[in-house]
């Protein structure tokens, strides 16, 4: 919740202020304020979207702003904010109980280590499920109860001690995560002990600033997990038929993908309607993990293109999932590039290509990088249409004017600002189109996903 963050920054510098909050973000703001140590940040709530507030509504809003700037503090302002949150019609579907879920003991046992996890509830399968659901600890599906025995078994999948800290910045709320907590959530998701290095790599890869906005976003992001290297086969990940789908043969893909969502909820504090503000959501938020079909691909695998050794096991997470097109049933790169012109906020794309069209292209002399370059070069639009993108004012124009987004370099060139409306521009930033080869060769299909911000880590150290 960036607006609250910048408002608190100004307050810390001694400037009194008020943060104007759109109604759907009441709870989101409170969580952010508490996380950053300023739960009493003064706020005024307005209908959403604020741009539609009429002159007739201002007399109800403006005096509140003046009061917020000039009225001395009272002791119960945090309570007022919480009361407001409870009265909001934008409530999450489930609420934590009044006394909150059990609080984990956080006493540190030493540098980089935390105390073992405590038992949250003892009960039947149904009682455990009910308790976890009521506390908003699930993704809405049944979980495997994370008992001590199952957790210890899961911990056998890594050489790292359970109390070791994996990250101190698990998003969205920058929580501390231990190896044991990863194992607990892995059990809940249905993962196997042998999956542990991948799960630990996922948590490490996700603790990056580049995901800080997308994980809370109104834009329904999901985060595909791509696994490369020998571990994919070792743990039974599917890179062939239905690799992005369901089925018994997809257990590793399904449970590892699910792990990330459960990790965001439990290890990072994500809660729908509070810190996950996806206006519509998308089904790939449940689970979205697959391995690259390195054996059947004519090209070097993704991780090798990123500078890793072929025999190194690597996990990559991207941001996207809210715009998807295909399957393209041919290998006309022109047609794919043309279709991709409809992608909004085009700051990157992932082409998931079956080995069949990949081989056809390779036989024509295309390297993978040639395909990526070709799509980039031919996904063009007019400068006028580019500037008409819904996301242009907030996300693209500041970049063109020289501002970088967190964790990223400049995306588009600044001369796009000065072009005439009819002049052509490349929609995607150079180097932002990526290709991975996945599929079972039942038809020469390619899917295009709007994806950006790859975060790639080696998982060898987590074995």
């Amino acid at each position: 919740m960036w607006g609250a963050h910048w408002s608190m920054l100004l307050e810390k510098r001694g400037v009194p202020g008020v943060y104007v909050v759109d109604e759907p973000f009441v709870a989101d703001v409170q969580v952010t304020c508490e996380k950053e140590g300023m739960p009493k940040l003064r706020r005024v709530y307005v209908p959403h979207p604020a741009g539609d507030v009429t002159d007739e509504e201002l007399p109800d809003i403006m005096p509140e702003m003046v009061r917020a700037l000039t009225t001395p503090f009272t002791g119960d302002e945090r309570d007022d904010n919480l009361k407001r949150e409870k009265e909001s019609r934008f409530l999450p579907m489930f609420r934590e109980p009044e006394d909150g879920p059990p609080v984990e003991k956080t006493e540190e046992e030493g540098e980089g280590r935390e105390a073992p996890s405590q038992i949250a509830i003892t009960g039947t399968l149904e009682e455990v499920q009910y308790y976890f659901d009521e506390n908003c600890w699930t993704d809405g599906l049944p979980i495997v109860p994370p008992t001590r025995e199952r957790t210890d078994e899961m911990l056998r999948g890594t050489s790292h001690p359970p109390e070791e800290i994996v990250t101190k910045t698990m998003l969205p709320e920058d929580w501390i995560v231990t190896v044991e907590k990863v194992a607990i959530v892995g059990v809940m998701a249905g993962c196997k002990p042998s999956d542990m290095p991948v799960l630990l790599g996922i948590v490490e890869a996700f603790g990056q600033e580049i995901f800080a906005s997308t994980v809370r976003s109104t834009t329904s992001f999901s985060f595909p997990i791509i696994v490369n290297g020998p571990i994919a086969k070792e743990i039974g990940m599917n890179s062939g038929i239905n690799a992005l789908g369901s089925g018994t043969g997809n257990k590793a893909n399904a449970t590892i993908g699910r792990f990330l969502r459960l990790a965001l909820i439990n290890l990072g504090g994500s809660k729908s309607g509070v810190s996950d503000m996806s206006s519509q959501g998308n089904p790939s938020k449940y689970s979205f993990a697959f391995a690259e079909n390195e054996e059947r691909s004519p090209w070097e695998p993704y991780h090798v293109s990123m500078g890793y050794r072929p025999d190194e096991s690597v996990v990559t997470i991207m941001s996207g999932g809210w715009s998807h097109m295909g399957c393209f049933g041919n290998v006309s790169l022109d047609e794919i590039a043309k279709a991709m012109r409809s992608i909004e906020l085009p700051n990157g794309a992932l082409l998931i290509m079956d080995p069949m069209p990949a081989r056809t292209l390779a036989e024509k002399g295309y390297k993978k990088q040639d395909v990526e370059e070709y799509i980039w070069a031919h996904a063009t639009t007019t400068a006028g249409e580019f500037r008409a993108d819904f996301f242009y004012p907030a996300f693209i124009e500041p970049v063109l004017k020289g501002s970088s987004m967190p964790g990223r370099e400049r995306l588009w060139p600044s001369h796009y600002l000065d072009l005439g409306d009819d002049e052509l521009v490349h929609m995607f930033p150079k180097g932002s189109i990526k290709v991975v080869v996945v599929g079972g060769e039942t038809n020469p299909f390619t899917q295009a996903w709007r994806m950006s911000h790859p975060s790639t880590v080696s998982i060898e150290k987590w074995r």
Binding site: G37, D52, R216
Partner: protein, 95 residues
């Protein structure tokens, strides 16, 4: 059969509460920056607020500013300007 399920929650880091700065007692003669972070029609709304503010706080001078960078990106020059020039601020809206 009973299951003793472990607490799966990540660990919240300890946070010390930071007090807000003192309020101004009166806006007359003061400068209030109205800052838009550009999302969800914030530009329209904050400009409207800047125009209307003197009616509700006579004698105030309202300065409208649009946050130059993406809303998640630091704008140190703007923060410095506000810390130097403003007596108070109104910031909004959206994410």
């Amino acid at each position: 059969m009973l299951y003793a399920a472990l607490n799966p929650r990540g660990i919240k880091p300890e946070v010390k509460e930071i007090p807000l700065g003192p309020r101004v007692t009166d806006l007359a003669g003061k400068v209030v920056y109205c800052i838009s972070q550009t999302f969800g029609g914030a530009d329209i709304f904050l400009q409207k607020v800047a125009e209307a503010l003197p009616h509700y706080a006579p004698g105030v001078r309202a300065e409208y500013r649009k946050k130059p960078a993406f809303y998640g990106t630091d704008d140190p020059e703007l923060w410095d300007e506000i810390a130097t020039e403003a007596d108070a601020f109104i910031y909004g809206c959206g994410a």
